[in-house]
């Protein structure tokens, strides 16, 4: 019997390994392959067919070494970090609340998922319509007599701090985090609530000692996804940020589409820098998480 078991186990192991092949090959060929191809173009490799022949190999990257770009980099990374942390926190709180309350208000769950299906470009568009000084919120404020002219309404799009950009992102990403973690929360609560109450703990203790540690990988992972997406997407900052905001995806998009062939390498180089940053941030997160497990908070 034991031998049988082992054989089946071995078989499982190898057959199982085969299961991963199609997905892996697919990613290697398309995603990694595509990225290498882009890298090649940005290095000024043989594929660049521009009229201008650049002698140096790294010219596109060298062009990025200037204060404007570094300032933009700071703005872009900072904004992505703010969006990720804010939507992560609010998303977690909302998911906990929804899980606890969902029996009473099922429709709340549906409302919270509405924005997930809207493309980012359209969400930027929606926020333009409500937040601008002549937008719908300003009209509501006027209707209730809180303001007497449209100029009195606070500047929320095209503003100094990118408020509109952050709000539009939150509108998309909070529901995403909720969607990502709520099924697990619901299950964990149903599994653990009685046990912990039997042991004398309150709900908040259950959350702190049981649910959050188990959820941590997917929660942090979710925030990283948000960060990586925000850092590379151009639709929302293009529509809602002030002209000199300097979001890199927007600049890269302009370089790619407006300034001719030989500037495309620069656009790709900019995106490469962002990809590297996102990768480094992710590696740090993974490292921290491993440390955390090693210090004894390992849950499974």
């Amino acid at each position: 019997m034991w031998r049988m078991n082992k054989m089946i186990h071995q078989l499982n192991k190898h057959k199982g390994l085969l299961g991963i092949l199609p997905a892996l090959l697919f990613m290697l060929i398309f995603f990694v392959g595509g990225a290498f191809h882009s890298l090649n173009i940005s290095l000024g490799g043989q594929d660049s067919m521009s009229m201008v022949v650049h002698q140096e190999k790294f010219w596109a990257y060298r062009e990025l070494i200037n204060s404007t770009f570094f300032r933009s980099l700071g703005v872009t990374v900072g904004m992505a970090a703010v969006v990720a942390v804010l939507s992560g926190t609010i998303g977690l709180l909302a998911a906990l609340y929804l899980a606890e309350r969902s029996k009473h208000w099922k429709w709340l769950n549906i409302i919270f998922q509405l924005p997930v299906g809207i493309p980012h470009l359209l969400s930027a568009y929606l926020f333009m319509q409500v937040l601008m000084q002549s937008g719908w919120y300003s009209r509501i404020a006027y209707y209730f007599g809180w303001i007497d002219s449209m100029e009195a309404f606070p500047v929320l799009v095209h503003d100094q701090w990118g408020t509109g950009v952050i709000m539009a992102y939150m509108w998309k990403e909070v529901p995403f985090i909720v969607l990502l973690i709520s099924p697990f929360i619901v299950k964990l609560i149903s599994d653990w609530k009685e046990q912990s109450i039997a042991l004398g703990g309150s709900f908040s203790q259950t959350v702190r000692w049981v649910i959050v540690p188990i959820l941590l990988p997917i929660w942090v992972g979710g925030m990283w996804v948000v960060f990586a997406f925000t850092i590379g997407a151009y639709e929302i900052p293009a529509l809602l940020a002030r002209t000199s905001f300097g979001s890199i995806p927007v600049t890269a998009f302009q370089e790619y589409s407006q300034f001719g062939l030989d500037r495309q390498a620069v656009a790709i180089a900019m995106n490469m820098v962002l990809a590297v940053i996102s990768f480094v941030v992710g590696s740090i997160l993974i490292y921290l998480q491993l440390q955390w497990y090693n210090r004894g908070r390992r849950v499974w």
Partner: protein, 284 residues
Amino acid sequence: MVKRLYVRRSVNVIFITLLTLFLIFPFIPLIIWSFTKHWPWPLLLPEEWNISSWKYLLSVSGRALEGLSNSLIVASLTLLGNLLLGIPAAKVLAQIEFIGKKAVFSTLLAPLFIPYTVSIIGMHDFAIRFTLLNEYVSVAFAHLIVTLPYFIATIWFQFRLIGNKLQEAAVSLGANRWKVFLWIEAPLLLPSVLLGSFLVVVISLSQYLPTWIMSGGTLLTMPLIIFPFANSGDSSIVAAYSLLFFVPVLLLLMVYFLLVRINAKNNLQIGGEKDAIRANKHSN
């Protein structure tokens, strides 16, 4: 003590109310805009209403139905690809240890963490070599890249939550691999498969760049029809298209919650079986 609880509860209610309003409010002007062309400040509601935008949408030029059906075909193909590639991969990653696992895992999830603009620009060249493939299939390929990581991550996490114990128990009772998957894992996986599928379909519906790169702009899905308008400033038409875009998403959402609920009911029974298996194992 009671008072503190009360305060906390009202803080919670305020928080969730504000958040709900924040999420719903932007939709209201969208609905209004789709029925008017002229709506200046400070009118809370427009004075003139008309349905010309909706008429345009459904006209020959509007192509709303063509876009909708193309979008749905691509999304279904993408979902199929995810189910076929994603579930086995997630199972291996969750249950089997092997050399280089971390590298494999990070490759599979890479599109989540690395802005995919980079590889999409490079993919442009690959896309051209795939002219022999059917348009729908090649676009679904591109959507698969974007969605597969979400799907694998969701399923993987659920596999980890299930653990290995039940399967081992079943194997010790003489079940083979397929039986284990079908009778033990599949039911427990269902909630995350539903979540993953929902994510996949919704993400696939909203893709612009991968769609036009893979089809060369010839497969007109909803985003390909809407995006030129989003830059043109005709608020009314953009609003009407957005709402139309929203219909399948809303339907999917309902179906998703319905399935989750049905599954939760069934789960009560499965939970009973689970205990039975546990008991069985102990008695062994």
